[in-house]
Structures are given as C-alpha cells and as structure tokens.
C-alpha cells in the first residue's frame, strides 16, 4: 500500500497568549522567534501512515506546500519513518486559498500517480478551517472519510476506525481513497530521535515548482473564495475574583456559598 500524507508546517501553536501577535496587513500571526512545527493533526496523520505501513507493508510519501523552511518538517517526517518526501514550492503558491491548495496538492498527486491512500490532518493548527482534505478528495474524485483515527485492515478495500461520541465505528472504502485524521490513544506521534533525524537530513528531497506539476498560474490564482476581512486579539484578561479564607476548609465553604449565590450549582 502506497500512502501519501499531506502536511503543513505552522508556527508552534503552543505559543502562550502573551507572546502571540498578529500582523494587521497580512492578517496572520507574526512569526517572531517562535519555532516552526508540523501541524499537530498532520503529525498524527504521519503516525497513522507509518503504523499502517508497519502492519500491512508498503511505503509512505510525505508532501508539503511551503517555502524551503518546510524541508525541516519533511525531514522530521522521514525520521519518524516515512520513505520519501516532496516539497511543493513556488512563489506563485503564496497566498492561495484552500481551493488553490487543493488544486496544487491534486496536481502533485496526479504526478506521483500510484497511491492507494491519501491522509490529511483533520485541520491545520493555525486557521483551523479543515477544508483542504475534503477539497482534495473532491478535486481528485475520491471517496472521502473524515475524522478517522487508524487503518484497521487493508485487503482490496481499506477499513478505518472512526471514534464516535459513544464508541467507534469501522468504515470501509475502496482503493484509492482519502481520509482526514483525528487523534485518539492509538496514534500518538512517535518521537523522531536525533540519530534518525541526522540520517533523514541526508535524504534528498525533490522540490516541485508550478511548472513541474503542470498547473496553470492564471487558473490557480483566481479570485479567492474565502477571505479574512478583519482579525484581532480578543481582550481575554478577566478580573479574577479570589476566594479567601483562613484555612482550606473556610475557602471551601466560601467557594461553595459563592457558587450557590451566583446560581451556578
């Protein structure tokens, strides 16, 4: 089974509130000195792909749209256990919306050709729209499964586990298909050791530009269908009412009384 995982490199989403800044012109987060990481659900998707390879055989290719900096994310994916990686990079890709990104990924996947399964994280850890995966399935005309957490069997068709509110379900789809990945206890991303990372950095990563994937520039940069009009950081500091007391027991009494007064319990 050949699995292709689409990943996005983002600014570390764990940046604390007080260091978070936005650029009013680009309407996006300011990079500052924050590290870049693989978007959390995409990292989970890499883990799911590697587990599937370990169970059912095959290979894993990781692709990403980004600048040269995204090579670092691809190296990490290789160190986790992916077999090959491709960077999709061209100045023309900058600022395209989710429709454009799906087109770029679809063109790259058509060039890659022999895939059985495409995995995408359920949503990126920055803007969190969750569009590119389902869009890509539509663009390629593939069956689409969303919010699955693992590949449970592969025998002509692929079966997936999908967590539900009260348990889980097993879904089956023909090959090839696309799945978006959510996390559960079975797919915590493995650690990429320094030794493996060093080895991964020696693996050459091809860079495909617009011309390499045969996409028409004008076609790609059509009018954006989704736009951020305004972005702001909400004022979130609230004056916290501290419950005092001479002893823990007294504090407990006072807290219980206050919750009752406020009609919260």
């Amino acid at each position: 089974m050949h699995i292709v995982v689409c990943i996005k490199q983002i600014i570390d989403p764990e940046v604390p509130f007080h260091l978070f800044r936005i650029d009013p012109v680009t309407k996006a987060q300011i990079r500052g000195s924050h590290p870049l990481v693989i978007s959390p659900y995409d990292e989970v998707a890499i883990e799911v792909a590697i587990q599937a390879k370990e169970k059912f055989g095959g290979s894993v290719t990781v692709i990403s749209i980004g600048t040269e900096e995204a090579i670092q994310a691809l190296h990490q994916a290789l160190a986790m256990g992916a077999d090959s990686a491709i960077l999709l990079s061209d100045p023309a890709f900058e600022g395209v919306d989710s429709f454009g990104k799906a087109r770029i990924l679809a063109s790259a996947l058509r060039k890659i050709g022999n895939f059985d399964l495409i995995l995408c994280g359920r949503q990126a850890g920055d803007v969190e729209m969750g569009l590119v995966g389902p869009f890509l399935a539509e663009e390629l005309g593939l069956p689409c499964l969303t919010l699955v957490s693992n590949v449970v069997s592969s025998n002509g068709k692929i079966q997936f586990k999908r967590p539900t509110e009260t348990g889980y379900e097993i879904l089956e789809a023909p090959i090839p298909c696309l799945a978006t990945i959510t996390n559960d206890e079975s797919n915590v991303p493995r650690y990429a050791s320094v030794k493996r990372l060093r080895a991964a950095m020696r693996t050459p990563i091809p860079v495909w530009a617009l011309a390499d994937i045969g996409l028409d520039l004008a076609e790609l940069r059509g009018e954006s269908k989704i736009e951020i009009e305004e972005i702001w950081i909400p004022q979130r500091e609230i004056r916290c009412e501290l419950i005092e007391g001479k002893s823990p027991e007294e504090k407990a009494q006072n807290l219980a009384r206050r919750l009752k007064e406020l009609g919260l319990i």
């Binding site: 989403p13 940046v15 604390p16 309407k27 987060q29 359920r122 920055d126 803007v127 969190e128 729209m129 969750g130 569009l131 389902p134 869009f135 663009e139 689409c144 969303t146 919010l147 967590p163 539900t164 509110e165 009260t166 348990g167 889980y168 379900e169 097993i170 089956e172 789809a173 298909c177 978006t180 996390n183 206890e185 009018e223 954006s224 269908k225 989704i226 736009e227 951020i228 009009e229 305004e230 972005i231 702001w232 950081i233 909400p234 979130r236 500091e237 609230i238 916290c240 009412e241 501290l242 823990p248 027991e249 407990a252 009494q253 807290l255 219980a256 009384r257 919750l259 009752k260 919260l264």
Partner: protein, 330 residues
C-alpha cells in the same frame, strides 16, 4: 432565496444542534430583512418531527423521509443535501460544526458548488446585506471576520454558540416532501459496524454537560481524578482534563479538552490543577464561568478565570465536597 438549515434525526428526537441552527438562522433572517428559513429534515419515519422544527423557527420543512435514512452514511447525506441545494437554490446554508457538518458535508458541498465556506463559526453580522462570519483562529488566540464569494454561502456553526429558541406552538409552517430516488442512496463508503464502548456508569458526556470538572498536571496521579469524579457526581458534572493528564494516562483520550481535543462551553467549568496553557484554553475558554483551583498564585489560569482559589487541591477538594453535600442536601 432562503436560508437552509439541516436536521438529521438518527434517534427518537430532534437533536439539539438542529434547534441551535434554527436559532442562528432566525437571527440571520432578521438581519437580512426577513429571509424565509427552510430546514432539510432527514431520517426514517420523521415526518412528525416537522412540527418541532416549525415551532423552533423553520418556515418550511423539506422532508427527506426514507427507511434507509435511519442512520445514513455521510456520502448519502451529502448527495441529498446537494440535490436539495440544486432544487431550492438557498442564499445561505447553515450546517452543524460536528463530525458530520464540519468534517464532511460542508467542505465537500462547498467544493462541488464552487463556493466559499467558513467553518466553526460562533457568530456573524450583516452590513449592507453582506454577511461576515465570526470565528476563532489560532486556537482562540485571535478572532476573525471572514467573507466568502460564490453562488451560495456555507457556514458551519459551532455547537452551543446559539441557544435554541423557545418553541412557539402557534408558529405556522409548511412541509414539502423531497422525492428520494435510488441514485441518491448509493455510497462508496460503508459502515461495517458500530461499536458502543460503555463508559463509567452514570458518567455524563462532555458534549452535553452543563457543568464540567477538569483536572491537569497538578492532579499528580490517577487517584486525584477519583476525587474529581466524586465532585463531578455530586454536581451532575462531566469530567475532563488537559493534555498532560491524558498523556500521563490519568484520563482516557476521549476526555481531553483542548485544541486537539473537545471544545466545550459549559455554564460552569471548574479547573483543578490546570495551569491555563493556550492548548487547553482553546477547548475550555468558551465556558460561561471558569473557576480555577491552583496552588500557584502566578499560574496563567488566574488571568483567565472568573473565580479563583489559591490552594492545593488535596486540601480543598475534600472539604469542598463536604460543603457542597451539606448545601445540596438542604
């Protein structure tokens, strides 16, 4: 041109999300100058649910009632939604931002219709007849207004962002039956089986709880969580936690609250031994009242909580349980 909302009935009652969507649609209709509200009602033997939707704000119910729609796969629901949109050409489509609407239907429908979509909206406003959709980004660290272009606007609405309207038994509306042709019922993805995993007895689900008790790294062990469960039982609350608690194995993954877990918005959230990292607050920040219990007076949670107690949880939770027992037994 109408506003279209969505209601899939898989159980015996209309799910809450459908009523929340109707509340959102009514507010939007008002701001747009009285656009009618249609609801696509899907299910098996669900005709009698139409009146519930009308009482909660639907002007017209588009009824897709068929034995094979009792628990349909996503592809089938998508086919039906696409069919209805092509027939009725709504101006706006509101879908729930849950595993169905946000994960699947909304984005795929948007791509098929070559139109813009905004997912996970918590609000909107209308200026000169143009809708701007409000939503959090960057795990709630920033908010945006987004605009879409295309023949129809699609938005998926975050759970609990809108309160269902009070039902009005005098409200009038009509029911229009949708013809279900067999082609609409085909799907390349099949549900092989559904497995119910029984939870702890009497446990309340995070998605439905009015009160949630959450624990973090500061709980120190899984024993700590048994005390929180005791507190939760007393309050009729659900138990959740932050990522360190899940990573340490003190809490099952399904109870994770945060950017990579559940996003909750209870009336009351009691955060115990939780520092207030952005990853966690992305999931719990929407709670109406946050109570923080932490031994560190400098923990960031005290800047995000409405009520705070600086104390070790081991010292305050037992007397708090005692105090609440006495108070609630009165």
């Amino acid at each position: 041109m109408a506003l279209l909302t969505f209601c899939l009935v898989t159980g015996s009652t209309v799910p809450r999300f459908a009523l929340e969507l109707l509340a959102a649609a009514r507010r939007l209709s008002e701001q747009l100058g009285g656009t009618p509200v249609q609801t696509l009602l899907l299910g098996s033997e669900v005709k009698n649910q139409s009146s519930v939707l009308i009482q909660h704000g639907a002007d017209q119910v588009l009824l897709a009632d068929h034995p094979s729609l009792g628990n349909p796969g996503d592809e089938i629901v998508l086919n039906l939604l696409e069919e209805v949109v092509c027939q009725f050409k709504p101006q706006v489509i509101l879908l729930p931002h849950n595993e169905l609407g946000g994960g699947h239907l909304g984005p795929r429908l948007a791509y098929r219709l070559k139109t813009g979509i905004v997912t996970d909206c918590t609000g909107f406003d209308v200026q000169n007849g143009n809708i701007r959709w409000l939503r959090p980004v960057y795990g709630g660290k920033a908010m945006v207004y987004m605009r879409t272009r295309g023949p129809v606007q699609i938005a998926t609405i975050r759970s609990r962002a809108f309160e269902p309207l009070k039902p009005d038994p005098d409200r009038q509306g009509e029911v229009h039956e949708i013809k279900i042709v067999p082609e609409l019922l085909s799907s390349s993805v099949n549900v092989v089986r559904r497995v119910e995993v029984p939870g702890i007895e009497g446990e309340i689900s995070l998605d439905r709880a009015e009160i949630i008790v959450g624990g973090g790294r500061g709980m120190g062990s899984s024993e700590g969580f048994s005390r929180l469960r005791e507190l939760a039982r007393l309050l009729g609350a659900a138990v959740g936690g932050s990522r360190p608690a899940v990573d340490m194995g003190w809490l099952p993954h399904s109870h994770l609250i945060g950017q990579t877990g559940k996003i909750v918005a209870p009336k009351l959230y009691i955060a115990v031994g939780i520092s207030g990292a952005s990853q966690h607050m992305a999931g719990a920040g929407g709670s109406k009242t946050i109570v923080a219990i932490n031994k560190d007076p400098d923990a960031p949670i005290f800047k995000l909580a409405h009520i705070g107690v600086v104390e070790e949880w081991e010292k305050i939770i037992p007397p708090l349980i005692q105090a609440l027992k006495e108070m609630l037994s009165k």
